[in-house]
Symmetry: C2
Subunit: 386 residues, 2 copies
């Protein structure tokens, strides 16, 4: 044992380009690059065919490598949900970022105004005090930002309730030369996971109708909204043809987690599972179940436990039934025998229940093509929740 | 807008020593240092009075600053749950670390054997192949490690089922000079959150009885177990007097999350809430509810939503009812009026539902005393899940 009190130790990388997938250290987040690129292309083509701008949401991936791939395919820019989240994307050269959220406190307004000196930035408001804070911060930084008035289209979360409230904010924004009204944000998170296709279509139709009503009132008052932004991976197939949105904000379509995979999809806009958690069987002592090394610190279970992925499909023989902090429990599905259980040291792939907060647990995404590691991308905005 | 494609931008710190708590940027993880130190002292004294070694679990905090405070008070060392988790603690000068878990794959065994060149390390086994992997890795690194045979005391997760299986592993360990049998690990995670005090005591009694039976059989076979390690924050008041454990592994007692706060506590070993998520009201547009800036990326909700903390106690007038990715919804409890709702830009403190995976979301803990920031500690093992 060395007497050195601060040894120069480094965590070895989980994966190196050229390695087989089966050799990477676990738990690790794995992206099937072929599938991922098909998902990218599919959404970009759908948006282009509809004549709608695609501004993918970076809150799903927090990874500049992915944002650059989206912009390279024609995305107009990205969305971020927090100001601090935008910073690594500005550093990576993304030049058009919409903060699709209200912000609170002077620190966030100051950072936003500073970022706006390096890129085209916009943000949402639903309160007069937010407009004043933005005006003050941009005046101090000598920068300009775009502002969207967020309207509540049924979720009851953020956004003003009606056209008169929106109009008051529009007028207040117009009083500050450094604030530029871009238009409306109309997003309904609750629609995205309505399971039935018909029910989801109807919910999206209602949200679009509410948006259209506010737009009409604003138009009547002489206010022109250049951009109407909103929509997510669950509603985008309806939003594209709604006649209301000029821009869509889907994020999870690139990965397709269990949550989105559980939506009934009867339309043509379908995406495939590209994101997996690679985990390893660490104990088989219990006999009737095995324990893997990925638990609550390697996945978010807020939207359900992960699926097990075998032979390119959701497993019909194995179930991940419980996540402890650092352990996952896998059992055979009731109809199958325990001999289906993977052995000690075997790698198992999981489809995460909810991609956004799961990405937020990892510093890296391991990109894999045809079973081999091709790249390791930093998740640079991981933990950037301020 | 600058043409610079990689501007030199830095995220400002969330908090600076000397600032009032109310001025820190949110979401941030806040530790009330006075309460935290009382919790530290209380557990240390209880262990010393019982003549039992305290080896606190670092999986709860992942923070070398906290581990050093525990060791300074008399803790014999710490537990980690993963090999990679131990690395920053070895770097920080912690010299005795038990990995309270089995490990899978050659990368982890190699890192463990390397760490063992700098500190006293031990690990659990429940399978002969794990012993062989440890023997190989330590032989290659030229290091020695301690080995605990884990026994299943009722959880059905890791650990061998009975004394004969334990004895076979003991004999296998003895065949390798670089592996040193330290004793048994007997931990039952399921007991920790049994709500009723009597029921929890009975569950702990059963686990201790199973452990005693295995110990008796090993003794009869001439095997001496220097250390029997186990116990968590929920069972430790019973484990200390069980006559079985020589060492306890509690982690969450330093923080007391909502999960542990929901246990019925009738014994003398009580701990106080010291850990909070500071969040800010970012939207009041909905009127009957407010939206705060801490959601699923700022807390783990696997064990329930957070409590709201007001005036040094759990709020009786406000409820945090839903966590979205980056939003939390707060409403008045049904009996109270909406005028109880905090206003825009107001800071709100939350008691997290489950501390361990919540800590794993933050890079820093903001230490506060008497309402002022005193220190900012790095959560150096955040994300170290391999």
């Amino acid at each position: 044992m060395s007497a050195n009190t601060s040894p120069d130790l480094k965590l070895p990388p989980a994966a190196r380009p050229g390695q087989p997938l089966s050799a990477i250290d676990t738990p690790s987040l794995v992206l099937d690059l072929d599938v991922f690129e098909r998902n990218l292309d599919h959404m970009q083509q759908a948006a282009q065919q509809a004549g709608i701008q695609l501004r993918p949401h970076a809150k799903a991936h927090k990874c500049p490598g992915i944002a650059l791939a989206q912009v390279a395919r024609g995305a107009v820019g990205i969305c971020c949900q927090k100001v601090s989240e935008a910073l690594p994307f500005v550093q990576a050269g993304i030049r058009d970022i919409h903060i699709s959220n209200e912000i609170a406190g002077p620190a966030k307004a100051a950072l936003l105004a500073e970022l706006a000196r390096h890129a085209r930035l916009s943000v949402c408001v639903d309160d007069a005090r937010q407009v004043e804070a933005l005006a003050k911060a941009t005046a101090e930084a000598g920068s300009r930002i775009g502002v969207f008035v967020e309207i509540d289209v049924g979720q009851g979360r953020c956004g003003v309730a009606d056209a008169p409230a929106a109009l008051r904010l529009v007028e207040q924004i117009a009083a500050h030369a450094q604030l530029e009204l871009r238009g409306l944000q109309a997003y309904h998170g609750g629609i995205q996971h309505v399971r039935g296709w018909q029910a989801r279509r109807e919910a999206a139709r209602l949200a679009a109708a509410r948006t259209a009503a506010v737009l009409k009132a604003l138009n009547a008052a002489g206010v022109r909204c250049e951009t109407v932004t909103g929509g997510g991976s669950g509603s985008v197939e309806f939003d594209l043809g709604s006649g209301v949105y000029t821009e869509i904000q889907p994020g999870s379509y690139i990965f397709m987690d269990r949550g989105y995979g559980s939506n009934e999809a009867t339309g043509s806009l379908r995406f495939e599972h590209s994101l997996f958690i690679a985990t390893t069987v660490m104990s088989v002592a219990a006999g009737s179940r095995v324990v893997v090394d990925a638990g609550l610190k390697s996945m978010s279970v807020d939207s359900g436990l992960p699926w097990i992925w075998q032979h390119g499909a959701i497993s019909k023989t194995l179930d991940y039934i419980a996540a402890n902090d650092e352990h996952g429990i896998i059992v055979p599905v009731p109809e199958t025998a325990t001999q289906a259980l993977p052995g000690l040291d075997t790698q198992v792939l999981l489809v995460p229940g909810h991609c956004d907060p799961t990405l937020n647990l990892y510093d890296e995404i391991v990109g894999v093509r045809a079973g081999k590691v091709e790249c390791v991308w930093p998740v640079s905005a991981r933990g950037h929740s301020r």
